[in-house]
């Protein structure tokens, strides 16, 4: 498990299997956009997303999809607004916008959103 900044700087990748992505960090997830779905309900009752944190990684299940590959093009990313665990979630300077691109071989490329990628909080 790494801090998000380390993951971004070292360009560490995540993994994806069907509707599940595995991220090598723990974070407070504030907003997720996948395709045209805007997800802000991360409660256990959410019908769109289920998040499970393990000691070594975070699993995110997208319940609306059988396979994320069917929903996303190669230029399309899952976008997230996240805050490092332990940091002040109310300080907007701690909010990090990341893009997750699905790549062959079950890899997920994790990047900080480019200024031209639009992700509104």
């Amino acid at each position: 498990m790494y801090p998000i900044n380390v993951v971004l700087n070292k360009k560490l990748n995540g993994l994806h299997y069907y509707n599940r992505i595995i991220l090598p960090f723990k974070a407070h997830i504030l907003k997720v956009i996948v395709s045209s779905n805007i997800i802000t309900d991360f409660s256990p009752k959410s019908k769109k997303i289920f998040i499970r944190e393990k000691e070594e990684f975070t699993s995110v299940y997208f319940l609306d999809y059988k396979d994320l590959n069917d929903a996303l093009s190669k230029f399309d990313a899952i976008k997230m607004v996240v805050v490092e665990k332990g940091k002040d979630v109310f300080d907007f300077n701690n909010h990090i916008k990341i893009s997750l691109y699905l790549e062959p071989g079950h890899k997920v490329k994790i990047e900080e959103c480019d200024q031209d990628i639009i992700l509104l909080e």
Binding site: K31, I33, S35, S36, N37, I38, K47, D64, D70, L72, S73, F75, D76, A77, K79, F92, N93, H95, D114, D116, I117, I118, L119, L120, E121
Partner: protein
Amino acid sequence: MNKNSIILATFVLLITFFICDDVFAGNYDIAIEDTVTNAQDIELAGKGDSLIDYLMVIPFAILLLMIATGPIFYPHFWENHYPKVAVGIGSAVAIYYLAVLNDHHSLLDSLAEYLSFIALLGSLFVASGGILLRVDKKATPLVNVLFLLFGAVMANVIGTTGASMLLIRPFIIMNKDRIRAYHIIFFIFLVSNIGGALTPIGDPPLFLGFLRGVPFFWVIENVWFIWILPIIIILVIFYIFDYTNKSGGSLKGDKEYSGMIKFEGYRNVFYLCIIIIAVFLDPAVISWVPSLHPLPIGIREIIMFSVMIISYKRADQSILRLNEFDFEPIKEVAYLFIGLFIAMIPALQVIASQAQIHADKLNAGVFYWATGSLSGFLDNAPTYLNFLSAALGKEGLDINNTADVRHFVSIDVIYLRAISVAAVFFGAMTYIGNGPNFMVKSICERAGIKMPSFFTYIVKYSVPILIPVFILVWAIYFR
């Protein structure tokens, strides 16, 4: 190619095969005689002969209802199954026309119009997706007003689809610290719809009128003063909305703006030019352009589909990535509109027959409201043609005769004005009123902007803002 794409392609191919079957068999003339044409429908309906089954309007109503209610009440089902629903409902109507009415021609006409529609929209969508416009400028109400005005004018040069795709991202980025749904709604009103009322490139109905014989510059010469009124009023209303929006200011503190406007993807500008030139490549406009009749596709559509493929294959990958290019918005339009184009055939035939029956009672105001109210929910291109046909019918002229259309344009300007502006303006009334509306909505949702539902859009924005403006246009110009 995924499963849904195969369903759509198979459906289009099957329809083409069935409706062209007589033609390929060399029985085209017989097919024409045996078939109930749209014009014959109208004539017979006028004599009280009921060939049109009014009940067949129900599938269209169901599809409209599902488009309106699906994303709200059963989003999971709708997101996963809307392609099957649209194609299924379209198939039911197609089977009825083929098996019961033996009417190949209505389907062939609709299919040809659909392919023209999707070729233009798709090619503009893909070509403009390879262009990146960076605007590093602080959005103020005045800057936004100027931006929307620029978009409205541009819609006449590269079409409402091209202008919407090109400008929606810079508009969101400029306003990212203070954006609200109304920003996008006004963008849809002005850039995706009303703005494009000045040239045949602007919006598909005007393009169809141009193909039927309305001179290219007739629209701008006869409509510009009507166009200005809603543009100014809606911009003023937008300014008031935007002025009272005090949510400005970056969440991460004040940002320095360079005022820079940067443009990338010049190659795709060249592709956009090819698409715009291709608009004119029609046998009805240029005599040496070969007709591919009886195929429901022409040289123009082949060029547009080719440009779509080439511009995607040769586009700068980094620009596509920054634009988060995805075929989903155009796929959504393609699926929903194949169902709508086929399912609305009976509805349009009912309109056409009623318009012919009541031709004597039709005045400019009736043409304006009837064309407009239907264009908000049906596709505005065939609606425009049917009311143009009815207007020509009042003078004993035929819409299929270019000389008749040119003669009509010279004697009866007000009807064509009413039909032209209503078909374009009222497309802004709903998400399904015009192709780009859906695309803009989809792009905004991908950016994280919560867009109003189908009904909220109508109740909260269209009715209170657009209807008073449209009433004013009617009171001044068409009453």
